[in-house]
Amino acid sequence: MMFETLFYISLFLCAAGCIFQWVRFRRAGLMFKPASSDRFNPGRLYPNPVNLILSFLNTIFQIRLFAAGKIRWLFHFFVFAGFLYLVTVHAFHQVTAVVLFDYYDPTVDPFQFLRNLFGSLVVAGCILFFLRRGLRLRVNQIKSNWGSHLKYKGLVSIILVFLIVGTGFLLEASKIISEPVFMEMVEDYSDLEEGDELEELKLFWQEKAFVSFDPTVPADPEKLKNGQVLNEVYCISCHSDIRSSFVSCLLADLMSFYGTVLNQTRVDVMLYRVHYGLCLALIVFLPFSRLNHIFLIPLSIAVKNQAPKTHHQKTAQVFGASLFACTNCGYCSQVCSVYPHFQITGNPDVLPHSKIETLKKIADKHPDVSLWGLQKGNNACTQCNKCTQICPSGIDLQTLWAVTHRIFSDNALVNNQTFFNRILPEAWADLETEPRMLIARQELVSDLIEKTDAFENCIQCTICTNVCPVVEYDSKDNDYTPQQVMNLLRLDQKHLASGTRMVWTCLTCYACQDICPQKIPVTDIILELRHLGGVRADAVKLQQTVKKRVEIS
């Protein structure tokens, strides 16, 4: 009665947790709401049943994970398949096995054997997972600087599963050796009284089924034979040969050294409570632990399957729950097209597995998040779709990265294009930047601006200006022409030059460069000016964010 009450309380807590989480997921999704001018239609965000079923089937066999990494799939499948069997056939046997099989009893083969088999699969899978983490063989651990904050992610769930199955085995073993349990069974299922017959049955169970009796029943081949007959009369219909529960037998064998003590303290009852309690804990924590990915992955795959395949991202939306379907496996970052970007800058938020963690933190209003790093990192994304294709959780990362910029409402986090659209070159040239932040980004450049020989030969013939499509089509808004930009350099006005509209609208078509009679690499110089402006703009923007933070605190 008490167990049942506890079970329903857990279920209620789980349901409440689900609602809480759903609100949280939705809030995360709303972060990416398109600007008010765009149509926002959240209706499409909920998957239709067909997609849901398809993706659920996919989840049972983890086809996507198989495609991404075979070894991880194997570990995962051990745990998943084992646990799925134990939950359905064992934990909920009253509504599954009992209904389906009229001969069902947990101590009857094949169920007794299968329970051990699947249980051992789970344990093996868990141990392999632990080893993999301990030996740092996970994809997201191979590179130490990929993000140490992910080290313990999802560990609680694995430990919980491991403990549940572990206590299950111990429970079974403790029941095997238990004299009190034996006596209860005899009382319930036989009409044997104290006497020779009971002694004979006890001997049989002591020899063949590892029960620890106190005192030990003395061996006698004749009695054993009689015991076997009694076993066939009273027990065999509900108890297959105990050796088919191969893991528990092994444990029972070990436990029988302390059999008397264990039996006296009724360790089996204690273990039952622990086992049951852990299962309830699992139910309560289901919405909050990594285990929620069992439900979130099919959901996010279903949503992705109905997202339109188009490069018009104006009205694209994000299904908030899919963010939380991420299992930090790191495959996305392994295939990430802009991985070299990370290699050079060391900014982990270039990589998808880190970006999604940061986004989750932002959704939860986590205090120490570097929006700056995320903005820089996400800017590098080339929308190559590789992470989306490999993601075992089927998250629509492609859309996510395309709309991530929407969360940067802060003016200090605009990209450089927009930044320079909003400032006049003259004002830009006069801005003061903190040198500390410029030094932080001292990197190699093409060395065309600092060395005058690249542009000093400019004769201001205006040919570059004449072949420039930007000058041609942007005549109303363009400020300086290419040849004037070269002249600014000759006048040592590189900062002014780096803020001109010409530099930031340049199509990089190289028409000017290839036609220059003086062989001045006009386009390459413009590209370096962009770099120069970009570095300085970053310093200015960082300064503004820091100032803002100081003001707030």
């Binding site: 013939c461 205006t462 040919i463 072949v467 041609e472 808004d477 036609i515 009679p517």
Partner: protein, 429 residues
């Protein structure tokens, strides 16, 4: 021209330099069936007027415009036996100029001349400049020199470096009958772009609007002068259409760079030589590496996809200082490809006259490469440096082409002859 990576290509003739001399040399070589490669940058054409001069002034001191180039030619040969023209007879000169006109025509650009005489072309400075081969779009302008025509000059509002009023003022001093009109171009705002202006002429609607704006100023006028921006790819047609619309004869007036007639010239040359399978390495520098088995070996710049070029002969048409064929150092002028000795005054102090506007010009303007009569560069003993290396164009010594108004002529003629000599020598072998 299409190229594989790391290719080694061999050819009969390598032309270094893509100016007028280089283009004519490449075209001539192609017409003689030689397998030709052309290198260098052709963007210098933007700085040329598009007029092909032959010999406008001689002697320099006289500043006297020659009515016919041949009038000055004999005297030039007598006084300056090292001048490129002294190495060629009149017939060949005419033949080479005719050849140039023909290849330009094949490239879609018509040039005409006035029967062995110079043509005086009005410039945007209001002066007249003698030239020989003239684009068809400008030739009608030569008729105003007589002073009898009633001229209308048009300019475009906002077009820099060109003012109809200024030219009219200069012409009125010569007692000519001139009126002006300014055409508004609403499409053009902000930075005024000559190329964009020229592209507009290819649009019929624009021509109609322009004609309409001129209409009221036409009255008794006979001839209309426009800045040389009337179309890029099909200037002759645009001009004809405008003539039909206005009912006036039209002509272009060449002005400041970037020059649209120069661009047309470049396009016409390029169209012709590409049509005739000349391989072009645009904007690529070549470095001489070795003489080997009667071949001359070069490498192009651009690591690591350099191209090796093995040529049986070379035409050095790399120009003077702006074209980087010659490089001036403190006391010495060097030739940049082979380091051929350059003829120039010994001391730097003698390179220039004290009077900047001295009518004789400066000695450094006559610096360049000395050649034998076949245009092969020679060493100090006047022996050819190499059997198959020729020089052509402005790099040749004793040739003050700016003052003699003979730039294009020297280029066309020397290039044409140098290729002929190479071809003849190759045939004998």
């Amino acid at each position: 021209m299409n190229l594989k990576n790391n290719a080694t290509i061999s050819c009969d003739l390598l032309v270094i330099g893509s100016g007028i001399a280089g283009m004519v040399a490449a075209a001539r070589a192609a017409s003689l069936g030689l397998d030709t490669v052309l290198t260098g940058s052709s963007s210098g054409f933007f700085l040329t007027s598009g007029l092909l001069d032959f010999l406008g002034v001689y002697p320099v001191e006289s500043s006297q415009v020659l009515e016919s180039p041949f009038n000055g030619l004999d005297q030039l040969r007598k006084q300056n036996p090292d001048h490129p023209y002294s190495k060629i007879d009149n017939k060949t000169i005419l033949e080479s100029l005719d050849f140039t006109a023909r290849i330009l025509s094949s490239g879609g650009l018509e040039y005409s001349s006035a029967k062995n005489t110079n043509v005086n072309i009005l410039t945007s400075a209001g002066t007249f400049k003698p030239s020989f081969l003239v684009p068809q779009t400008m030739i009608k302008g030569s008729s105003i020199g007589s002073g009898k025509k009633k001229i209308l000059l048009a300019d475009f509002k906002g077009l820099k470096g060109y003012s109809a009023a200024l030219i009219a003022q200069a012409l009125k001093r010569r007692h000519m009958d001139v009126t002006t009109v300014t055409i508004q171009v609403p499409q053009l705002t902000g930075d005024f772009n000559v190329m964009r202006m020229a592209a507009l002429f290819e649009d019929d609607a624009f021509l109609h609007r322009t004609a309409k704006q001129i209409e009221s100023s036409v009255q008794d006028r006979e001839i209309l002068g426009l800045p040389a921006v009337c179309g890029i790819h099909n200037s002759q047609d645009s001009m004809k259409k405008l003539e039909n619309l206005t009912g006036l004869d039209c002509f272009e007036i060449p002005g400041l760079p970037p020059s649209i007639p120069g661009l047309r010239l470049k396009n016409a040359f390029e169209t012709h030589i590409l049509k005739n399978k000349v391989r072009v390495f645009n904007n690529v520098k070549v470095a001489f590496t070795a003489f080997e088995n009667e071949q001359i070996l070069f490498t192009t710049d651009g690591e690591p996809f350099r191209t090796q070029i093995a040529a049986k002969g070379v035409i050095l048409a790399s120009g003077r200082f702006p074209g980087r064929g010659l490089a001036a150092h403190r006391e010495v002028i060097r030739e940049t490809v082979f380091d051929i000795p350059v003829y120039h005054p010994q001391q730097r102090s003698l390179w220039y006259q004290l009077d900047f506007f001295s009518p004789q010009g400066h000695p450094v303007n006559r610096a360049g490469i000395l050649t034998d009569s076949d245009f092969r560069p020679v060493d100090k003993t006047c022996q050819p440096l190499c059997e198959n290396v020729y020089a052509a164009g402005s790099i040749l010594a004793h040739n003050d082409w700016t003052r003699l108004k003979s730039g294009a002529g020297v280029s066309c003629v020397s290039a044409f002859c140098a290729v002929n000599h190479f071809h003849a020598r190759k045939k004998i072998k």
